[in-house]
Symmetry: C2
Subunit: 385 residues, 2 copies
């Protein structure tokens, strides 16, 4: 296992990069409210975000370290990070749940006429009550609240080697768990039992927690890929797919594996081969200077040649502190790939009405060819008893 956490120098370097972009865009302070944004700047790692009761704020000023404005219950843990200026209130406080403290902090750090950047765009959500956001705006009537989504995306989409190491570890953990699937899933095992046991394998192999598991099992292909498991037992002829986002030190893997219950039907084996080839094409295309769309197009060409011209949509995405991040591997996403970006390649193929298969691998863009972070799935479908 690699070490946990990151040295203060890494957070300082991240903050420096942010402040250079802020200066370029005329942003005087960043206001962060979401778990990954707060953690990216501070290292504050807790599962307590599962509780929706309390808002948490971090302010990144134009210069100097971030300032935490948080519920008192988090002060001890925040004090273990590199953040030194920690301002707390006794949340929940229905009359004023940190809003005045936050407004005063923003005014002190950036002035009452500051341009305050926050995530307002794609794939973001403001993690504070909308009414409190309105109160914050009223408390700082001369300030401007502007969209900093593209700035935050640019910062976070290129991972440091330390971050890549975490994702590599999460991928290796899942790889060891996938290798043990024949021991937990066979004809007659209910899918919900497979899900339960697979999560146990992920933990046993070293996952800190398992925020995501989806999949399906049905004859010759599954109908959708986001359902929870039902009680139906696996049966010969089924294709079983398990798709997991397991976490190590706050970073996700996100990939799946397919299995055949007994020997696969010819069309199932053929679909597996097409998806394998599409993934190879995506891997070959995933180089610095190519766009997200180029990688999509490379995979889509293989799928379309196999007779599924409709299979477009999103064939992969960014990966990191979130199960899914930007860019999207779609026909229209012109994000230029850079070394250090971590992506999933996720081609899908419709086999028949209500029957599909999906493959997924995790990669990091390197100066030459991309590096696989997940152990490459075999071209032939693994069989379960």
């Amino acid at each position: 296992m690699p070490p946990r956490g990151f040295p203060p120098e890494e957070f300082r370097a991240r903050t420096d990069r942010a402040q250079r972009l802020m200066a370029r865009e005329g942003i005087d302070a960043l206001l962060l409210t979401s778990e990954p944004d707060v953690r990216w700047f501070t290292g504050f790692l807790t599962r307590f975000w599962e509780s929706p009761t309390r808002p948490w704020f971090v302010v990144v000023p134009a210069a100097g370290a971030p300032v935490a404005v948080i519920p008192a219950i988090g002060a001890a843990l925040m004090a273990q990070t590199w953040v030194e200026d920690i301002r707390t209130w006794a949340a929940p406080a229905p009359e004023d749940d940190g809003v005045t403290l936050l407004a005063d902090t923003l005014a002190e750090l950036a002035g009452r006429q500051a341009r305050i950047g926050l995530a307002m765009g794609r794939e973001s959500a403001l993690r504070m009550p909308l009414a409190d956001y309105a109160r914050l705006q009223s408390a700082l009537p001369a300030a401007g609240f502007v969209d900093a989504t593209s700035l935050l995306h640019a910062l976070q989409q290129v991972k440091s080697e330390a971050e890549i190491g975490r994702i590599r570890t999460a991928c290796a953990i899942a790889g060891r768990a996938f290798a043990r699937v024949p021991g937990i899933a066979r004809s007659g095992t209910p899918l919900e039992t497979v899900f339960r046991r697979f999560q146990m394998l992920l933990l046993e192999e070293g996952a800190d927690w398992v925020p995501y598991l989806a999949g399906g099992a049905a004859p010759g292909g599954y109908a959708d890929v986001i359902s929870p498991a039902g009680p139906r037992p696996l049966a010969r002829g089924d294709v079983l797919m398990l798709d997991t986002g397991a976490v190590f030190d706050g970073y996700f893997c996100d990939y799946d594996r397919n299995f055949s219950l007994g020997p696969p039907a010819p069309e199932t084996a053929a679909a597996q081969a097409v998806l394998h080839d599409a993934t190879e094409a995506g891997l070959a295309a995933a180089r610095p200077g190519a766009t997200a769309a180029d990688v999509h197009d490379a995979m889509h060409a293989v799928i379309a040649a196999a007779g599924d011209p409709g299979a477009g949509g999103r064939l992969g995405h960014g990966l990191g502190m979130r199960l899914t991040e930007w860019p999207s591997l779609t026909a229209s996403d012109r994000t230029v790939l850079e070394p250090g970006m971590v992506l999933t390649l996720e081609p899908a193929l419709e086999i028949g009405p209500g029957r599909m298969m999906v493959h997924e691998e995790n990669i990091v863009i390197r100066a030459g060819a991309a590096e696989l972070l997940s152990p490459r799935a075999p071209r032939a479908l693994p069989e379960l008893e």
Copy 2:
């Protein structure tokens, strides 16, 4: 294990209740964006919300069933619920990620001058990009967007017997896992190993997934209750606390247990007894007609009498589809308790600087005395080797 899911009649009854409150408040449509709000009205259950990429919308009109406005990837699963009107778009679509479809749906169902209610208040967050919310408002310039937080709170804070059954099952699962802690935790076991093994126990005992585990272990009491586990091995004299939110069929338990590594020190045993007595006092006070503050005050009196006058804060909270819900058991929360409300009782005691203990039980308010959903913790601290 109880059955999973809820019959259409339950969702129809929930929607009827909502529509009566909407009529009373002059709200023409509810706009839902969060996982629990969407699920409470529809039954749409998936872990895919872990992906922040796509927004999801449900509109509750003044009469009739809810209408789903969702990414196409969710259509097959939504079609398994009682919702029949399902409108989809191919998300992610950066130029228009469902906003026009949502605006048209709201206009069709409630008119262009509708008063549209959404959660803006305490413990809520809008799960869509802020910029898209602004676009929605621009697309419906004559509509009013109003706060429906108190309406949603009133609806969801009283659980049906079917919901209570799910929480009871989650509590029983955690109870069986807690009973097996002596088998996974002893002097020398690193805390992070205890966390990993305890999650495996929860799954083995029937949890669908484990969204929350926190805790601590330190000599004579722990410093905070939201930290992830570190590598330090348990040692004799430690107090170990594990606090879990495990899920069955989409409903949480949320309670903790304390253990002593070897015989507890006298002050540790005394603290355990005080917390046990405080919980008893909370249990006795938790009756219909009492307020959340009354229950808080009953627990706080026991803690204060034991010499910790400062221990106030939140001594419990609502529980359901979220790890933490309203009301808050604080000195100021005047919510009147009703049969069917599920609550945690969570008294805390500071033993010394940086050393505390916290107890937690889960209960449901009944016509007479409250019903314990978690198996009551013993008054004497259980010992580990």
